[in-house]
């Protein structure tokens, strides 16, 4: 049995559900969204990720209809949605504050959207029942929002926004108000519900771990522009810029100049008098071009003696150790003054740790471990 990989973005014959076409949004002089183009496909779980103020919430509000683009157009299923008011869009939103109606019961909150159409009463009842079951809220149907817990409120908000079976569901920092444990459980619940209902989800978050966990694709944004759109693995393993590499996870950035040494191999001259690092890169660099080598700390191994077969090996001194329980991050100072982070899993008890402060250690990594970035 062959399993088909869900990747409509690689299929040129697929039509996107949402298309941002050169969209610009200004608030007075402030440019919130800067000439942005983006396609989102049906049944995707798409994450907009970025620091606060990067324009991700503005994009969501434009999809919901609360803001109109200043320039460009947004298409939903091939149709320009600019003239459609929020109450006529087949798009529903789950608000960051949940925005549950405090004067209505959980049941009435979920039924609120359904009652606005001409749905028969029995069908409304069935649909609300279905939603209550999906979000495991049957027992709380008669309660008011202030009589249930934060996690339950989050599920009511989700049930309410899903009740009308929208083509597109927008989630604005949906898990922001939950504590870490509950957030993790809810992330999987969200993915499960997304899969069951087949609805296209667009989630806005500033939490990279959350975006990586739930999303089929992630768009990393900064100052109103999309810097990179790719699957979580690609974003992490093959960031297209120093900004993305730095924003997602922990990374060592080594600045230097490139010197081609093979078809796709480069030597990176980083510090005067130190041997160059070697790296493999798909994108080509010219001789003497400034480049940045980005390596994840977990791809750098640390050892007492030099590893014989490593492409890159460098000796340094342990400056600091960050003990995270399951992992330890070693901050190792190289002779040139550069500090490299190396991460290892703590498979042994900490008392039997091999290195300590001020120890001289060897760091090594392969030529393919890092990514070579121009900027």
């Amino acid at each position: 049995m062959t399993q088909t990989v869900f990747a409509p973005w690689d299929d040129p014959s697929k039509k996107p559900l949402i298309r941002f076409d050169c969209v610009t949004k200004r608030f007075g002089d402030f440019v919130a969204i800067d000439d942005l183009s983006l396609d989102i496909f049906e049944q995707e779980f798409f994450a907009l990720l970025g620091p606060s103020g990067c324009g991700k919430t503005t994009m969501m509000r434009m999809l919901a209809g609360f803001e109109a683009p200043t320039e460009g157009k947004i298409e939903l299923a091939g149709q320009d949605i600019a003239p459609v008011p929020p109450n006529k869009r087949a798009v529903n939103m789950m608000f960051q504050s949940y925005a549950l109606f405090p004067h209505l019961s959980v049941y009435e909150n979920i039924a609120f959207g359904l009652r606005r159409g001409d749905m028969p009463k029995n069908d409304i009842d069935d649909r609300v029942g279905e939603m209550l079951k999906l979000t495991r809220l049957e027992k709380f149907a008669r309660r008011k929002p202030h009589q249930i817990s934060g996690g339950q409120r989050q599920r009511v908000a989700l049930a309410r926004s899903l009740a009308k079976a929208p083509k597109l569901l927008l989630l604005d920092e949906p898990l922001g108000a939950l504590d870490a444990k509950l957030r993790q459980a809810t992330q999987f619940e969200l993915m499960d519900i997304q899969e069951k209902t087949g609805t296209t989800f667009v989630i806005v978050t500033h939490d990279q771990e959350e975006a990586m966990t739930v999303a089929s694709r992630v768009a990393v944004m900064d100052e109103g522009r999309v810097i990179q759109v790719a699957t979580p693995e690609r974003i992490y393993e093959a960031p297209n810029s120093v900004y993305v590499a730095d924003f997602i996870g922990d990374v060592n950035i080594i600045k230097g100049t490139a010197k081609p040494s093979g078809s796709d191999r480069y030597e990176i001259l980083h510090t005067d008098g130190q041997p160059p690092f070697s790296a493999v890169s798909e994108t080509s660099f010219s001789e003497g071009q400034t480049c940045h080598l980005a390596i994840r700390p977990e791809k750098v191994s640390i050892s007492a003696d030099r590893t014989a077969d490593a492409d890159n090996a460098v000796q340094g001194k342990v400056l600091d150790i960050a003990y995270l329980g399951n992992l330890s991050t070693y901050y190792v100072e190289l002779p040139g003054g550069q500090v490299i982070k190396a991460q290892t899993a703590n498979t042994r008890r900490v008392s039997r740790r091999g290195f300590t402060w001020e120890d001289s250690v060897w760091l090594s990594w392969t030529a393919t471990a890092g990514v070579l970035l121009a900027e």
């Binding site: 609360f66 109450n87 608000f95 202030h146």
Partner: protein
């Protein structure tokens, strides 16, 4: 002990400023008119035995026998209800606009609502006489613009009383409604629109229910004083305006019939106690909802 002392303060206040005066008024209402100082009998000078035996409900029976009084009560209730409703119609949009105004404007707007209280209430009512009279500013303005050809008679009618009550009490309506609307989370309206409501539906289904407590509080704050209002009907109202506050004044100062005037006041208080209790229950429920 400390807690007892703390509770004693408000109860002492209630006793001194409400219960004792009420007992005195109630006692006078059970007395008979007399040409004396004070103008009623019996007094404690007569001794305990005769004092209690002389008290009776004659004055209340008199109030029931003369239809002037119950017509005045009914008329007062009607005027108070209608003007409360009209004050709500005027006050709600103002409160709504204030709550929607930019943050930096709100203190100024609030100030403007409270500003009239800085001058004497009596002078403001007299100013309305100047506006509403036959030769008043309003008529002169309307004649000048050509909207009317003969002056309107507004002063000394019930219309003038309604205008006076709305003008005087609208801040009491605005403030609690503003407080309720100010706390309203804007994303609730967006959520309602997102779920398929038009602007008007969102207002009707979300904004109105969530400002309900403000509406109730404001309505009672207007209705209760409007029911016993005396100055506005006597200055702006005409001979046809029948309000219990006016009747009470006439009994007391024109007829010098303190016992009947006291009986009128006791009945008025009994009528007011019902809305006051309802008002307090609303306040209590609101406090519980927020807890």
């Amino acid at each position: 002990m400390q807690r007892l002392a703390l509770i004693a303060v408000p109860y002492a206040w209630l006793l001194a400023l409400f219960l004792i005066p009420f007992v005195i008024v109630f006692k006078i209402s059970l007395s008979d008119i007399a040409l004396a100082i004070p103008p009623y009998t019996p007094t404690l000078k007569d001794g305990f035995g005769p004092f209690f035996s002389a008290l009776d409900f004659e004055n209340f029976a008199f109030l029931a026998s003369d239809d002037l009084y119950w017509r005045a009560y009914v008329s007062s209730l009607r005027i108070a209800l209608v003007s409360t409703f009209l004050t709500l119609l005027v006050g709600y949009p103002i409160a709504y606009a204030m709550a929607r105004a930019p943050e930096e404007w709100r203190p100024t707007l609030m100030m403007l609502v409270i500003l009239p209280f800085w001058t004497s209430f009596l002078i403001r009512v007299y100013a309305w006489m100047g506006i509403l009279s036959q030769e008043g500013f309003l008529n002169q303005f309307l004649l000048w613009t050509g909207v009317i050809s003969t002056p309107l008679t507004i002063l000394n009618t019930n219309t003038a009383v309604y205008i006076g009550i709305i003008y005087t009490y609208v801040p009491f309506m605005i403030l609690p409604i503003f407080a309720a609307l100010d706390r309203l989370d804007g994303s609730l309206i967006e959520a309602a629109e997102d779920l398929g409501c038009s602007r008007f539906q969102a207002f009707w289904l979300v904004t109105i229910p969530l400002s309900k407590n403000g509406i109730i509080a404001g309505s009672f704050l207007v209705f209760i004083p409007a029911l016993g209002e005396f100055v506005i009907p006597s200055l702006l109202g005409g001979s046809g305006t029948l309000m219990i506050g006016k009747v009470l004044w006439e009994e007391f100062f024109n007829n010098r019939d303190w016992p009947v005037a006291s009986a009128v006041a006791v009945i008025l208080l009994l009528i007011l106690i019902i809305p006051i209790i309802l008002f307090q229950r609303n306040q209590q429920r609101q406090a519980e909802d927020e807890a």
